[in-house]
């Protein structure tokens, strides 16, 4: 915690800001990218959101009050940026966010940066059927193996509610995957 406070202090100082921001960027660019990518699905979209996220982090670092951990704060920005990106895309095309994600999933088959097979495509389709928050919980817990405590800080939801939501999500997905595997 003390080290993090010192690190944040260096990030806020003009003389050391660039150097420490570079360290921050190198540490978090990959995990944040994958977090964003699992939400928006497309690589180019994920790249845009990733850049926007770090621009926001760079601009807002002086206002960071250390009420949460630095990395949960960055994750929260990344999550909000991803959801806002989907919302604005939906608005542009006069569709709902869900419809946009279904369309995005349908495009995955032709996407050169999608490496999955038919089953993994179906898996993505099933994830799309989950409510937004439940989808996020599932992705962060199951796919990124984050702790419920951190997910709770990022999403602003209690740990208990997250655990319940995650449990229901796993049941739903397992049921659908078993159905597909049986056929």
């Amino acid at each position: 915690m003390e080290n993090e406070s010192k690190f944040i202090a260096k990030l806020k100082e003009k003389e050391t800001q660039n150097k420490y921001f570079e360290i921050l960027l190198n540490k978090y660019k990959e995990p944040i990218y994958w977090h964003i990518r699992k939400i928006v699905l497309d690589h180019d979209d994920a790249h845009d959101v990733l850049q926007n996220t770090f621009i926001k982090v760079f601009k807002a670092i002086n206002n960071f009050k250390e009420q949460s951990k630095l990395y949960t704060w960055i994750y929260r920005i990344a999550t909000n940026e991803s959801l806002n990106f989907i919302k604005s895309k939906a608005k542009k095309h006069f569709k709902t966010s869900k419809e946009i994600m279904i369309a995005q999933t349908n495009k995955l088959k032709e996407d050169p940066y999608f490496d999955g097979d038919e089953l993994q495509l179906k898996f993505q389709e099933v994830i799309n059927t989950l409510p937004q928050k439940q989808k996020l919980v599932f992705q962060m817990k199951y796919e990124q193996e984050m702790k419920f405590k951190d997910i709770s800080e990022i999403l602003g939801t209690s740990e208990g509610a997250l655990k319940a939501s995650y449990h229901i999500a796993v049941k739903k997905i397992k049921k659908e995957i078993i159905k597909i595997q049986t056929f």
Binding site: Y33, L50, Q51, I173
Partner: protein, 153 residues
């Protein structure tokens, strides 16, 4: 991940371009922030300088510019032409249609002596041989009031 919740599925279904994360640097992010515009990773390395200096490419550019210039010139000439036509036309010269209109609408109240003063008879190309007596009588009866005829007698 061998918990009871394990769905037992490979979730690594996404790929990225080669060297993608190496291109994410503070300089690139700052450039995006300044301009608001973004470029694909390694974009500048893919610019083919030969394509730009290629003669055909340059010729196309020149041809397009010349076309634009030529069209602008034609448009300018047309505008100047209309302007000259409007500005230098003689305001005192009357068109044939204007003369006929004047004769039809403005000369109705004129007397025959006024007509004689206004016009030179020789200017009118009238073939008197074509006018027969019946036409002449009709003309006299309809054009002059009986009071005038009585008074003139």
């Amino acid at each position: 991940m061998m918990s009871k919740n394990n769905i037992n599925l490979n979730t690594n279904r996404f790929k990225i371009p080669k060297g993608y994360f190496d291109a994410i640097t503070i300089d690139n992010i700052k450039k995006t922030e300044k301009t608001g515009f973004k470029v694909p990773p390694n974009y500048f390395k893919t610019i083919d300088i030969d394509l730009i200096t290629n003669t055909n490419y340059l010729n196309k550019i020149f041809a397009l510019k010349f076309k634009k210039l030529a069209l602008s010139g034609v448009a300018a000439i047309l505008i100047i032409g209309f302007f000259i036509n409007g500005f230098f036309s003689d305001p005192n010269s009357l068109k044939e249609a204007e003369i006929l209109d004047y004769m039809n609408y403005e000369l109705i109240g004129y007397s025959s002596s006024d007509y004689v003063d206004l016009f030179d008879v020789n200017e009118f190309e009238i073939n008197f041989e074509q006018i027969n007596e019946l036409d002449l009588e009709y003309y006299i009866e309809t054009s002059f009031s009986s009071d005038l005829i009585i008074n003139n007698d």
